[in-house]
Chain length 115, copies 2
DNA sequence: GTCCTATTTAACCAAGCGGTTGACAGCGGC
DNA sequence: GCCGCTGTCAACCGCTTGGTTAAATAGGAC
């Protein structure tokens, strides 16, 4: 893990291929070949993606004969979730306002003149 | 917003400077000069960071005379939170196991032989 | 108009990223 | 030992990123 784990995690997640790999790993362990199968991409490319995910602490890898299965690292995303949690109140509040507005419309007050 | 909003958001968040800017904007609107003040960085650099955040839908900007104040876009992070939510059960489960293990230790069963 | 402040644009640069191909290493089967 | 499979390493390439400086734009004050 680098000096700034949070940046590493966000950066790792900023790629659709890597997010798809994570989604696939929710179903259980997988080899590099398994993971590469859905993508139009060479094996070394997938291997690099796995290394990024591993360095970010989002997956871990085992060794069974010539296979190096990858698995989800369950606590990996917790740091991201904790960071996000500080901001939850902003979109919650915003959603509440939107919700109130929609209820106002239903009452036949589309301009929100009531407030 | 680009073709892949989620990637744009994660990518925008993968920079400590930009996360610090978001944190600062929690306290309210701020001008580019305000935002640049804590950083050892030129103004155009901050301006670029703001553009990244804006394109990711995490902030929006106004126009008041020659100032272009930035403010938090409340719903901006919701997409990220929704994506993360799918994975919550993984770290929750992991935490529960850790919790159970700690309780086991307290009971004087450090090797977890009970299970 | 002229000056001052706030901010963006343009051009540039070094470093990193995402991909490729080709060679190499680990391991089981024969 | 040798083949075949799985995976990584190394070198390379084009594009993006995060920063710089210098010049341009926008708007208020005078």
């Amino acid at each position: 893990m680098p000096a700034d784990p949070l940046s590493a995690k966000f950066s790792a997640l900023a790629d659709p291929t890597r997010r798809a790999i994570l989604a696939r790993l929710c179903e259980g362990e997988a080899t590099v070949n398994d993971l590469a199968e859905p993508f139009d991409m060479s094996l070394p490319a997938v291997s690099k993606h796995l290394k990024v995910l591993e360095k970010a602490g989002l997956i871990s890898r085992g060794r069974e004969a010539q296979w190096r299965p990858a698995r989800l690292e369950p606590m990996g995303l917790k740091g991201v979730a904790d960071w996000l949690e500080h901001y939850r109140r902003y979109w919650d509040a915003s959603f509440d306002r939107l919700d109130a507005y929609l209820k106002q419309i239903q009452k036949g007050d589309p301009d929100g003149r009531e407030h």
